[in-house]
């Protein structure tokens, strides 16, 4: 998929200059066509000939012919294209991305690096804090395109202090990665898995279920006020969606070039609502009404994906040594997320969901936080984080759209009614105020 995206911008400069050496081929094919026309001119019914022709060429050939031509053109471009003129003058384009630096034990550094550039890169030397340091690689020093290596260094890192690792390539280019606060990276053992799971439960699962406890309250208030809370939910979700999109864009900058962080954001952001809409249509075709439970399920899913991202933030904050930040994050998310449960049950107030269904909704929204903390703590990667956040943002966008449609059918006075506008604004404000507790 990414290949087709990448080749698209490369095509325009390709086709124009490559046309010159390709002329011979073009004229020959035109000659063939003329011959063919002459041959087909003789039959009695001239109109029948083209349709016969069309039938003679299988559809799959018609579909693949442009592709084959394109492939041929790419080969021609590489062999005879104008790029050869520049090749001598420019140093090779090198790009290495340090994805993660871990400190598995005192005196040991592990650097995970990926080549996201267009050409292979040779790691010649490694500097730590501006000192050339002995090291080993788990493979060849030359890292091919999209290949990964782990570099191990016996370096006496200092607890609580920052460090910097710099890779020096064969051509002398440097690629750096920082350790903000050095602290031993937790190993993925039972003790740490439990600890991080608990963090996720505190930050995501408990608050969501607490929020669900508003269900009896919502059932006992008048319809007008229920709409108020529904619009409040919409406000919450819009805030969360924008927040997730901002996070996705921020981490996308850390993704190695070849993996195209921005394209990943776009895929998640547009792909998710489109997929959810398709599921919705499929349900409609099967005559299963767009029930409130379905909307609540969608909301739970969107919030769950968003909470996965929050879990990632907590996990990475703890492992990157910013423990204070991690603690604040947990407390902040605890307050922040209790409003999310409200969002899930608000559209359900008019129905009679079973307890089992409520629990399931809470789990869908909350439990991903636990997986998020695990991924963040033990296998952080900017690529997956970007994708998760983008999917979360896309899912929330879809949920907001569904809520809007729900409003159009049922709400008193629609979304623009003063009370509903107030609810929406309240939702945004509530998120903003609880967000103040969160650091940065």
């Amino acid at each position: 998929m990414s290949d087709s995206v990448r080749s698209a911008p490369a095509t325009p400069p390709t086709s124009a200059p490559a046309a010159a050496p390709d002329t011979a081929k073009v004229t020959r094919s035109r000659g063939d066509a003329e011959e063919h026309l002459r041959g087909s001119a003789s039959p009695r019914d001239p109109l029948a000939a083209p349709s016969e022709d069309r039938a003679a060429i299988p559809t799959w050939v018609k579909g693949l012919a442009p592709l084959a031509l394109l492939a041929g053109l790419v080969v021609v471009f590489f062999r005879f294209g104008p790029i050869g003129v520049f090749r001598q003058a420019f140093p090779p384009v090198e790009e290495l991305t340090i994805e993660r630096i871990t400190l598995p034990e005192p005196g040991l550094l592990e650097v995970r690096v990926v080549n996201g550039g267009p050409e292979p890169v040779t790691v010649a030397q490694v500097l730590v804090d501006e000192a050339a340091w002995q090291h080993t690689l788990d493979g060849d020093r030359t890292i091919g395109r999209l290949e990964r290596r782990t570099i191990r260094l016996r370096y006496p890192w200092v607890e609580g202090e920052p460090h910097e690792v710099t890779l020096v390539s064969r051509t002398g280019l440097t690629f750096s990665g920082a350790i903000e606060v050095a602290t031993r990276t937790p190993a993925a053992n039972a003790r740490y898995l439990t600890t991080f799971a608990l963090l996720g439960v505190y930050a995501g699962v408990i608050p969501v279920f607490l929020g669900l406890l508003w269900f009896p309250f919502l059932r006992s208030i008048p319809r007008r006020w229920l709409d108020f809370f529904l619009s409040l939910t919409m406000g919450l979700l819009v805030f969360l969606g924008v927040d997730a999109l901002a996070e996705a864009l921020e981490t996308s900058a850390l993704v190695a070039g070849a993996f195209q962080g921005l394209a990943l954001v776009l895929l998640g952001l547009l792909g998710t609502p489109l997929a959810l809409a398709a599921v919705g249509e499929w349900r409609a075709v099967r005559r299963r009404a767009r029930s409130a439970l379905y909307v609540a399920g969608l909301i739970a899913l969107g919030i769950g994906l968003h909470n996965l991202g929050e879990g990632l933030a907590i996990g990475t904050a703890y492992t990157s040594g910013e423990i204070a930040l991690g603690t604040f994050l947990v407390v902040g998310f605890l307050l922040h997320n209790s409003t999310e449960g409200l969002g899930i049950v608000a559209p359900l107030a008019v129905e009679r969901p079973r307890l089992r269904q409520l629990v399931l909704l809470g789990a869908v929204a909350g439990v991903p936080t636990v997986f998020g903390t695990w991924i963040g703590a033990f296998g952080y990667s900017p690529l997956w984080t970007t994708l998760f956040f983008a999917i979360g943002a896309g899912a929330i966008a879809q949920v907001v759209y569904e809520l809007w449609r729900l409003f159009g059918r049922t709400a008193t006075g629609g979304l623009a009614a003063p009370l509903n506008v107030a609810g929406l604004l309240m939702g945004l404000l509530l998120m903003y105020l609880t967000g103040l507790i969160l650091p940065a």
Binding site: Q125, A131, A132
Partner: protein, 365 residues
Amino acid sequence: MLENDSGRPILPGDEGARAGEVVAGAGAARLTRRDLIKAGALGAAGLAAGGGALAFRPRQLAELPAGQAPAHGPHEHLATVGEIQPGGFDPTAFLTHFDAGRVSRLPNGQTLREFEMVAVDREIEVAAGVFFPAWTYNGQVPGPTIRCTEGDRVRVRFVNAGTHPHTIHFHGIHAANQDGAFESVEPGQTFVYEFDAEPFGLHLYHCHSVPLKRHIHKGLYGVFLIDPRQGRPPARELVMVMNGFDTNFDGENEVYSVNTVAFHYQKHPIPLRRDELTRVYLINMTEFDLINSLHLHGNFFRLYRTGTDLERYEWTDTIMLCQGERAVLEFTFTHPGPFMFHAHQSEFAELGWIGIFDVKEPTHV
């Protein structure tokens, strides 16, 4: 830890230790060489307290580390990985390679020394596996060390086979039009510099084309040594040019060294003889940094600033030089073994400007 038979450590004031005979008979006799090395950590005080029976031990201990102490020890992880490709520039050969030129005598009796210098673009290896697109004199960085005697006639035929205008600016006393500051030599052109070698001392030459920073940093510099008429005392002579390389062109050096290759003299210690006079011709050609320095371990050196005076300027173990500044260092090691020398800016040392003198007994060399 040093222990006796009962497994108890022998410490000063220890009952067993005070009863010298007991220790000698039961404990000390079983000491192995390894124990002794470990005992080094205890210090001489602990051993001395061992009593008369142990009296022969400190002597052995003193001999051990001298010849056999590891050259690296706590420095084992601080270094580049691998070796530079063979067949290229050899920093070890450069240390002692002096180019005296083609020698003839002029009608007036003056010695004429003729040199050929060619500026060429060349990729050089500045640390194992790290290549730098250099501009060089005669294909090497630093350029060849030119050596003559005070009063000689020096004629340098300079061919610019590079891709940019270059010159050779010699430090020394000469005519304005031989200075290499204003006479730009375009690619493909030739220029002949001619002047008398004066004053005696340790000088340098370098390209004076603009931008200066780039022309010098890319490698166009070398040593111009003028010996005094009466000569200097015989010694083992070494040329050391402190330099650095900004491999990613961000205005800061990624590699520091003497004679170009980072960590070369740490990986290949320079052999010296005990009690033999060593003379180092030290020049700083480091770009981007204010100063560079040299610190000698386990010894002091006589310092002759710029080498233009035969009177010692100072007796020290550390010298600081600005870019273009130079000094002659003379020293004699009285102890055998490995001795470090390096920039006393820790950062420079850890990025490659570090080396080892391996001082051997005169009989061993």
